[in-house]
């Protein structure tokens, strides 16, 4: 009973932390999915006096493609209302239009930076970012992602405190065994083997529980979020990589806490 209680005292904060982490991973996945969807439709239009040379990246974002807009098409659209001389003049004076496609959807800040970078190109006259349509929802999603990340950070800190407290209790409980093994020449790490075993057991248990909770959330997501937000959720929300990340985190955080305490214990 005592062993079970101490096992759960360790596993509980770990599960909470892992669940928070999995929520963060889901939100990140949703944001990335939204970003990928809108980036296919999104382009910045620039008007230049002379043909535009190649641009590799803007504000640190790779430029996927620069597509020139057909000048003939533009002239064709307006030629009915113009005389031949005006059309000839228009052909000479009409600037060059380009659509710039990016590798990822930029944030408002990045857009401002992109605008500034493009303005430094001497032959560019005008820039249209068309960002307002997507930007509000995108910013909101980024805000939610950041809030969850901060919450995850806070839960992580609290969990580490609780984990270290429980590991200290285990060290205290195993103190006699540890000192006997050390009297026989066993190292502190060797004598702490039983504690490492409990930690790894708890970590495995916690990662399984957190994955089950994540699975329950994903399969019932339509009950959790508003129906109008369902468009943001990908139809297939594959989480294999995320499950792997949860598992790795469940092992790494307790072990780092353990080794931190081990060093402290050794220094004492």
């Amino acid at each position: 009973m005592k062993l079970l209680k101490s096992f759960f005292s360790f596993a509980f904060p770990l599960v909470v932390m892992l669940f928070m982490f999995s929520i963060y991973l889901v939100v990140t996945k949703v944001v990335n999915n939204y970003k990928n969807n809108i980036i296919n439709d999104y382009a910045i239009v620039v008007i230049a006096n002379t043909p535009l040379s190649t641009i590799d990246s803007l504000a640190g974002i790779d430029v996927k493609d620069i597509e020139p807009l057909s000048r003939e098409k533009i002239i064709k659209n307006v030629h009915k209302n113009l005389s031949d001389t005006s059309i000839e003049l228009l052909q000479k004076k009409l600037p060059y239009f380009y659509k710039i496609y990016l590798d990822e959807f930029p944030t408002t800040l990045k857009l401002e930076q992109i605008r500034k970078e493009l303005m430094t190109v001497s032959n560019i006259k005008k820039i249209e970012t068309f960002s307002n349509d997507h930007n509000k929802l995108y910013s909101l999603l980024i805000l939610v992602q950041n809030i969850i990340f901060i919450l995850f950070g806070a839960v992580l800190l609290l969990s580490i405190l609780l984990l270290s407290k429980q590991i200290k209790i285990w060290f205290f409980e195993h103190n006699e065994r540890i000192s006997i093994i050390q009297l026989h020449g066993g190292s502190l790490l060797y004598s702490s083997k039983p504690i490492i075993k409990i930690i790894l057991g708890s970590a495995l248990f916690s990662s399984i529980l957190a994955c089950i909770m994540l699975f329950v959330v994903i399969t019932n997501i339509q009950m959790i979020i508003e129906p109008e937000l369902m468009v943001l959720i990908p139809t297939v929300l594959s989480m294999e990589m995320e499950i792997f990340k949860i598992f790795i985190l469940s092992i790494i955080i307790p072990l780092i806490t353990f080794f931190g305490l081990l060093v402290k214990y050794k220094l004492k």
Binding site: E176, I180, Q182, H184, G185, S187
Partner: protein, 220 residues
């Protein structure tokens, strides 16, 4: 071999428990350390396995200078010692077999070799029938025999025993003395025993150090 040069020991840096001790314990010797209660005999023994820091002087155990100890070297040095305590210091969660196997595991002996060594030792201390029992199921005398078996398991060069018969009746005490004598006579292990009660008829050659008011001297 244990060599003390101007050895001074203190727990709190104020009062010295052992002061300016000079002595040498040669290989294969049987040594008793005696003195009145609180004289510092257990403290002196403790210093032999690095259980107390050295305030002044030098203490060499198997050529290892305990005054300049580093953690890893200290553990290495302890691997060549067997230690027996008055309160046995057996791990309660381990069976008798696992307790005796402990030094062998620390030495990375293969499991089958360790098990056969444990069987031999349990036969030697007449506890073969208790192999799977836990320390709490054994009497004080039996637990101390297990502690002696554990101290012998890895064939150390020195066995340090702190009041090994302090809590035992005469019958169990005799068995422990016999085991220690045999280890010294037949295996050539140096034995250092702290005791206030030296058995009358040891039947082997031994030396005795006495401690009085922090001064260590060889008694006749």
């Amino acid at each position: 071999m244990i060599l003390a040069k101007n050895l001074t020991l203190s727990y709190d840096n104020k009062k010295n428990i052992i002061e300016d001790a000079n002595f040498m314990i040669k290989e294969k010797e049987f040594i008793f350390i005696s003195g009145s209660s609180g004289s510092g005999k257990s403290t002196l023994l403790k210093s032999f396995y690095g259980g107390i820091p050295i305030k002044k002087g030098n203490l060499f155990v198997n050529k290892f200078d305990l005054a300049k100890k580093s953690d890893s070297k200290l553990l290495q040095m302890r691997k060549d010692l067997g230690i027996v305590f008055q309160d046995y210091k057996l791990i309660q969660e381990y069976t008798i077999e696992e307790n005796i196997m402990l030094p062998l595991k620390v030495h990375n002996y293969a499991d089958d070799i360790s098990r056969s060594q444990v069987k031999k030792l349990l036969k030697h201390v007449k506890l073969s029938h208790k192999i799977g029992a836990y320390p709490a199921e054994l009497s004080g005398g039996e637990q101390q025999r297990v502690a002696v078996a554990r101290a012998l398991a890895h064939n150390p060069s020195i066995i340090l025993a702190d009041e090994p018969t302090g809590n035992l009746d005469d019958y169990s005490s005799d068995m422990i003395w016999t085991l220690l004598k045999n280890a010294n006579e037949h295996l050539g292990i140096t034995i250092v025993v702290v005791t206030h009660r030296i058995p009358k008829d040891m039947g082997i050659k031994y030396r005795r150090f006495n401690i009085e008011e922090g001064v260590v001297y060889e008694a006749s």
